[in-house]
């Protein structure tokens, strides 16, 4: 079971991992990925716009795809939207599995697909008052296509 949530407020990665594992003792590996707002030279904030009617369904579809590829792997996806400051977390992917290979692979898959298939757009606000929409990266397409 891999679940997905969408929220504006920050998340507590450790609490999410603990909740995912719960009382289970058949899991040998837990992987947590946190995406953070980088303070590239003069960046003052990042605003994430998204497509409300589609976003959560798309995250859930990505989660379902991972669950079918890695049966026995549990996971949680949390993606924030709205305005965030440098150093703040944007996205969390936590996976837990009997073996480390599956936990790592599922976490990377979820991030790679999410990067190219979830309808979010980042707008950067700079110290000089300008704003700029982040450009999609070809490396993200390549990462998503390797799975």
């Amino acid at each position: 079971m891999i679940t997905a949530r969408l929220q504006t407020e920050p998340f507590d990665a450790a609490a999410e991992q603990a909740a995912l594992i719960g009382a289970r003792t058949d899991l040998g590996a837990a992987v947590s990925f946190t995406g953070l707002v980088r303070a590239d030279d003069g960046l003052v904030a990042l605003t994430l716009e998204h497509y409300p009617a589609m976003t959560l369904a798309q995250l859930q579809a990505i989660a379902a795809e991972a669950a079918s590829r890695w049966p026995g792997t549990f996971g949680t996806i949390i993606h924030r939207h709205g305005r965030m400051l440098p150093g703040e977390p944007i996205v969390l992917v936590v996976t837990a599995s009997p073996h480390r290979g599956d936990a790592f692979a599922a976490a990377q898959f979820l991030m790679d697909w999410l990067k190219t298939k979830a309808p979010f757009w980042k707008r950067e606000a700079w110290a000089d008052g300008s704003t700029r929409w982040v450009e999609a990266k070809g490396s993200d397409d390549a990462a998503a296509e390797r799975w």
């Binding site: 497509y51 979830a118 309808p119 757009w121």
Partner: protein, 84 residues
């Protein structure tokens, strides 16, 4: 009637986040729809000028340029996504 939604810089260039209209008969595919939309205003034209930077979802499913349109209810037009 179909609702068109625009996101990110597509929204800014078109100048609205949504519009509801009746599709013309020639809008049989995603690509044909974009061709027609580009004629609606200079903003639409500018936003859609580089089709390699445009992505489309039809009824909340990603769609390719050759995807046929069968009475869609909602079509969203936006740049390549940049979340995560």
């Amino acid at each position: 009637m179909v609702t068109l939604l625009y996101f990110a810089w597509v929204r800014e260039m078109v100048g609205t986040d949504s519009e509801t209209l009746t599709l013309p008969a020639e809008a049989t595919t995603v690509a044909a729809l974009l061709d027609w939309l580009a004629t609606r205003s200079p903003g639409h034209d500018a936003a859609l000028a580089d089709r390699s930077r445009i992505r489309v979802a039809v009824d909340q499913q990603f769609a390719a340029p050759d995807t046929p349109l069968h009475n869609p209810r909602e079509i969203a037009i936006f740049p390549p996504v940049t979340g995560g």
